[in-house]
Amino acid sequence: MKFKAFLTENGVNLLEKRFIPSLEKTAKTCHLYFTKTHTLFLHNLLNGDGIQSIAQFTKQVLFDDYRISSQNDDRIAFTIDLSLLLRALRSSVAICNEYSSSAVPNRLQIKLVKKLPSNCSVPTPFLTFETRGFKSAVIQDIPISKPLSRAQVVELQSALDMAQDVPPTLIQVPDLNQLLNLVDRMKHVGDAVNVSISKYGDLTVQVSTTLISLGAEFRKLLVIGDQANAPSEDQNLSAQTRSSRSILRGDAQSVQVSVKHFAKSLQYHLAKPDCAFYGIAPQGSCLTMIFQFFVPGSRETDKSISLHCRLPVLDPGTG
């Protein structure tokens, strides 16, 4: 099992400034999964509870001189602590910047190694960052889990394949920051939030308890997939009535998710997506959030980066 690659400048920027800070908010550790073509950061794919999140990069975005080999179809996966990864990345960047005036361009190499720690008799695996300066080299070892067995990798890959389905109706969410602000305050009011999405482009988010209900409604959002025109007789109704009527008509779906999960998922705006889409999977099995990235300076989707997450549902709600 071998893995060795050089991080590109763009790759360092993406990971250090955008993706790892946002992924870290979901959970401290995640699976890092390398294949022949892609690198993936996966949250909660093998255990059912918690937010599942999948961040995928083609190898060219993050690395050059990418070498991977394993007896398992050249796939390697392990668990890594994201805060340690971020720290190592940050200090490597600082070292690179310090020496960047030298004639030799600095390159940041990462590789998988096994080392024998001083107080231990069994070699343990590390992900090593190596920065070569003009006169010195700095090496940082991040402890990782034992690489996943063949069976576990197969299980991870099949969980990944299962998590790829796209909801029939997706709506484009407006300002994520504003929504985050609102949901942060909803946390004080209740634990569960009802999210309903209609084919007309309506999104309602509501927390209800016996004493209070607090909700927000966004209308006329861009719809992708199954869509319909909002019936004109619904225009002047209250948000709640409109939402329940569209559910009855089969034009909307509603699920209940944890407010905490919902707030965490909004932290993905730290990854600076260019747009975000929400949808509810068939039978209300989960709330899916898909983040889209554009090729810099264009409005074209960057196919080399993808990020989506799935929020587990507390109550299947209404189909």
Binding site: L214, E217, R219
Partner: protein, 297 residues
């Protein structure tokens, strides 16, 4: 039922600066779970909270604070809400760096308070808060002057808050003494140790802004009640360098008054000059009444 819906509600009001209202109500939120009573009238809304028969606080939201205030009730409707939920809920309407217009409406079809943001048609926030019937309270916080002349002083709110915070370590109770000669106010705590803070009234000092006292008075108040009167003072009060007025009434009843600005954030307001002048009407008055521990006078 449909006929009822057409009827005008007791109160329908609109407010521009939700954050100001949140600040004013937070000032009387001294613990996590507090029940508040709201009293509606043609003059505005009064929110009242009470504790242990010793402390009462009132927030006066005059109708001038609102950009629209429609009052249609007869008598003075009263209802109870959880202050914590009410504040948390209002908070959701407050978007940083954004002046948000909200509408408050009472009663809803199920006697709820209804709140709604009315900035934009395509994005709105709504809330419903369940109300309860308030206890028929027999609170006795009638503040009457102690004599012919009032006993009162006005101190910078920031200084008052700091003084009360400093008096925490001796603990238990605080003795407030007003003395006409030399004109001064003394706050003294005795417990694990003694600490005394004197406010001297003199011409050049801007600490004690006003002072009126014709005979010596001295009363003891429970520390926790005194602290409640300043602990959640909104930061805008100290930023705007406001003063708090304290008066001692008959039997030692202490009245503490603060002013909290509810006008729009000045950046978006053309009427506010550089000195920070704001329309005086957009001010919420907050009053605390603290009963003394025992009379010594």
């Amino acid at each position: 039922m449909s006929g009822m819906e057409e009827e005008a509600p007791d109160v329908l009001c609109q407010l521009e600066n939700v954050q100001g209202l949140v600040d004013a109500l937070t000032a009387v939120r001294w613990k996590r779970h507090q029940d508040a009573v709201l009293e509606l009238s043609e003059h505005g809304i009064v929110l009242i909270v009470e504790e242990s028969g010793c402390l009462q606080a009132k927030v006066y939201l005059k109708k001038e604070i609102f950009i629209r205030y429609d009052y249609n009730a007869e008598g003075r409707p009263r209802f109870g809400v959880s202050l914590g939920l009410f504040v948390d809920c209002l908070n959701a309407f407050s978007v940083p760096g954004h002046s948000s217009l909200i509408q408050i409406w009472y009663p809803g079809p199920d006697m709820q308070v209804l709140l709604k943001s009315v900035d934009s048609l395509d994005a709105s926030i709504c809330a419903e808060i369940r109300t309860r019937i308030p206890d028929t309270s027999a609170w006795d916080y009638n503040f009457e002057p102690a004599g012919t002349n009032p006993l009162t002083f006005t101190v910078k709110s920031a200084a008052l808050k700091e003084a009360i915070e400093d008096l925490e370590w001796p603990g238990s109770s605080i003795q407030i003494t007003m003395e006409p000669d030399p004109p001064s106010v003394t706050l003294r705590a005795e417990g694990h140790g003694d600490l005394q803070i004197d406010f001297i009234y003199c011409v050049n000092s801007d600490l004690l802004v006003a002072f009126q006292c014709d005979h010596r008075v001295s009363f003891k108040y429970k520390y926790k009640f005194l602290r409640a009167s300043t602990s959640n003072m909104p930061s805008s009060v100290t930023k705007e360098n406001r003063g708090s007025k304290l008066s001692i009434g008959r039997g030692g009843m202490l009245k503490v008054q603060h002013l909290v600005s509810i006008s729009k954030p000045s950046a978006s307001h053309s009427h506010v000059d550089s000195a920070g002048y704001q329309q005086p009407s957009r001010i919420a008055h907050i009053e605390f009444f603290v009963k003394p521990e025992e009379s010594e006078d």
